[in-house]
Symmetry: C2
């Protein structure tokens, strides 16, 4: 039975994968848009976090609702950092009260509605056209929220931040795409090149594919807790120079999918490197509030750049943050912001013009981001509950971050760096040579083959390391640390059993 | 005094405009991103609705708060269809109760909370991960909302609609950009060409510039209430064939900025034309609920295409709708959807992959779109209030649509077609030859010069026709019909005085 299902699932996986590679020979009579005429750059885009394995997980979930003979009753979706969906994490009361108040101010008439939240709502609505979230906002975002973001950054770094440098956007993804767009040269013969870490978050490779840019891949140092090695940066840049015009460098800190938190001197060296090669720095800092390992500390690129003084403090830089991450996990809101510093004045006007063509980012997402960035202060009515909810969520994340790497490291043939921050573990998996050869004969990445099997046999949905890119010859998977502790333990036990049987099967 | 201010304002206008044309010769020592290295396609983008004149209006608004010698005390922002901000239009209670309930379900504990809204909230949250709007949604959007959209379309057209063809997006702008992206060929030597009406909504020209596509401009027939003339479509397509690969046609119905509502036979002819030339049809139907003129009726492109039967009912088509428009005007939410019909199966998988890289559109925007598309039914608790609010808003819009064209037509040298639908009047303005020459000597479009002067002397902020493109030698302005009736009348009176004095000054 399992053998039959395995063949079925492999077929299913192949079908899903094939869509990206082949196109049907037979075409409808009228098809102005087919695989021959579709934008070739769109075909290049890959996004593993919602890729074939996740589509297959959805199919299985539907099958599980009926009569089935899977040896499990539910799919554990550990493929995406989706806090409210993955675990037992409820939305934070303060954030939701604030947004509900902004949406329908009548709810504030309730005697239970906290006064501090009411004051914040009134301040925000006063900055909205017609005192309604239904009005378009300034293209950069509502000024009071941008002021709050600037205050948050100033508080974080100890350096001034200017609301004029803050851009609210539809999730960090939207902001990242905008900033990368600025750096493109529209020259297919020698395109712009952007340095990205390997492993990376696949939004970067997807966006660079979509824009026809060159991906300059630098390897993170897995043996050194995924640190950035400057010699490796130099190597990758040098090798790329004949193929592209290098324009920028992306650093993800805390790391996704790797979970590392960069040391301060590592950041300093990256900044010096970027300055030396005139690279625009894109600091993906969406996990800045997700730091777990005792002794680890988040340093923003902006702070380090400012600490370094001239000439580094003149460098252009973008830093991205998101309402989706942190510990509140308001992913659906698509709230986010970026700070653009030291930008050429004329370029800034061009940015403002560019973003104005889509009018503004979602005002509700802006409100969520505003609430996150400006929590209740001690002594305010909503402070105690907020503190209690925060402590509970943060403690659970810390516990799981510690637990997950321990658990994976207890499995033979698996090695997992400490989860210092972010929301993921990225264990390295030993895959037997025979399985690698078999997968390749089926035109699948070996870890994709492994993860598909893991899904079919255990219901665990994780993302293959190949979806994030990885050093050739190594294999990984990415799992979130979001499922509840009991589920997490159960998940790793099921994983252990599967892994042992996989090793035996392909030895 | 006025002369001084006029010079100042002209300088200001020139400065703002110049940013798009020139770049500073002096560069900072460290400027990896300057006007020489900025993406050349970004420089090409223009978006008049939030362009230089609107930036200037913001400056004046700030000056009006202090001591000033403008002959007015407020700026009338008639530049953008922003319902809640522009007039005395409050949000619709039903929509806001629904969204507040989805945000913070505790508000539904109030005994005043309508039961029908509560049921709708519970249905929506059941379709969200962890029953929270804070979870990522499916990339296409929450299934229950897509089902409601499909039901709405089916009800509208009398033909089946499939939730699998519905894509929720961040305002129609986001959807339009996605669909245009599919049609690009990434060949700067002979790029894809998209037919757009002139006048058009500048998102189209901005997007095509950004993507490096060719804009195939067809003129709407101003003397025939802005109808589409098929000979004109053929002319523009023929002339463009040497410069590009024609791939699609955009039709805006009801029209923006023109306010026309297309007759059914006109739509039929456009569909036949698109079929003949294998063009992908993009029907911008965001004003489908804004039809005012007695005898005018909205026909969706999909309905007409289905009515025509084979082979037309096999054609690929995208239709766009938005939470921003209609009569509820929830612009800030950035809710929107598009329906993609008859798409090649493999292309559809590519679309789904492409949109997955930004995970999903804003769930709050999705909820707003859901509420709009699925209003209370007769007999439900919230129906009466909803009906009352709707009637009030719709009647006001009808009154103003009628009033505005009448008023403009009463001014010498101004001619305005009937505002059949949408939210705008697009009167044609006679500008004296001397003023045209003067504007050109200052490198300004004559109607931009005119509108800047109108703003400085009356506080009325409208968008020059050149921002939408127009037949060479003609000049227009676009005003919304959203300000309250009294303000609207006052606005046109101020406009009349200004226009007469402008004619005298430049005769």
């Amino acid at each position: 039975m399992l053998a039959v299902k395995y063949r079925l699932s492999l077929n299913s996986a192949r079908q899903v994968l094939a869509a990206g590679i082949n196109y049907r020979k037979e075409q409808k009579r009228y098809a102005t848009l087919n695989m021959q005429t579709l934008n070739p750059l769109v075909k290049e885009v890959e996004y593993a976090v919602r890729g074939p394995i996740v589509i297959r997980a959805g199919e299985i979930e539907r099958q599980l609702k009926g009569k089935h003979d899977y040896p499990f009753d539910r799919v554990i979706r550990a493929n995406i950092g989706d806090c409210h969906a993955s675990g037992n994490q409820a939305p934070i009361t303060y954030i939701r009260q604030f947004v509900a108040g902004c949406t329908y101010p009548e709810v504030m008439n309730s005697p239970d509605f906290p006064r501090d939240v009411k004051q914040r709502v009134e301040r925000l609505l006063s900055a909205c056209g017609g005192k309604s979230l239904g009005s378009y906002t300034e293209s950069q975002g509502i000024i009071t929220i941008r002021e709050d973001v600037a205050a948050y950054i100033q508080q974080r770094d100890g350096y001034p931040a200017d609301a004029g440098n803050i851009y609210l956007c539809n999730g960090a993804s939207d902001g990242i795409k905008t900033v990368i767009k600025l750096l493109m040269n529209n020259d297919p013969a020698k395109p712009s090149g952007i340095m990205i870490p390997v492993p990376q978050y696949p939004l970067y490779s997807a966006t660079l594919s979509e824009y026809g840019a060159h991906q300059i891949e630098y390897y993170l140092d897995e043996d050194n807790n995924w640190a950035l090695n400057i010699d490796e940066l130099e190597r990758s840049l040098n090798e790329a120079k004949s193929k592209c015009v290098p324009r920028g460098i992306v650093v993800i800190n805390p790391g996704n999918p790797t979970g590392q938190v960069l040391a301060r001197d590592n950041i300093e060296n990256v900044i010096r490197f970027a300055h030396k090669h005139q690279l625009f720095v894109m600091a993906d800092e969406v996990y800045q509030e997700n730091v777990y390992l005792p002794g680890s500390k988040f340093f923003s690129f902006k702070k380090v750049l400012m600490d370094l003084g001239a000439p580094y403090n003149q460098m252009e830089m973008a830093s991205f943050h998101s309402a989706s991450k942190g510990w509140h996990g308001e992913c659906g809101s698509r709230g986010g912001y970026y700070e653009l510093i030291n930008l050429d004045k004329d370029v800034r006007m061009q940015v403002n013009k560019l973003i104005s063509a889509c009018l503004c980012s979602t005002s509700w997402g802006q409100a969520v981001m505003g609430a996150i960035i400006s929590p209740p202060r001690e002594g305010e009515e909503s402070y105690e509950l907020y503190k209690k909810e925060r402590t509970m969520v943060v403690n659970r994340l810390k516990e799981k971050a510690d637990l997950v790497s321990q658990l994976f490291n207890s499995v033979e043939g698996v090695r997992c760096n400490a989860v210092m921050g972010a929301m993921y573990a990225f264990p390295r998996i030993e895959i037997p040579k025979k399985a690698i050869e078999y997968a390749k004969s089926k035109k699948m990445a070996p870890d994709a083959f492994y993860c598909f099997q893991l899904l079919e046999k255990t219901g665990i949905c994780v993302v293959p390391g190949s979806g994030f890119k990885q050093r050739p010859g190594t294999h990984h998977l990415r799992t979130t640390i979001l499922p509840p502790v009991d589920q997490m333990k159960d998940m790793v036990e099921r994983f252990r059993t599967f892994h042992m049987s996989f090793l035996r099967e392909w030895k």
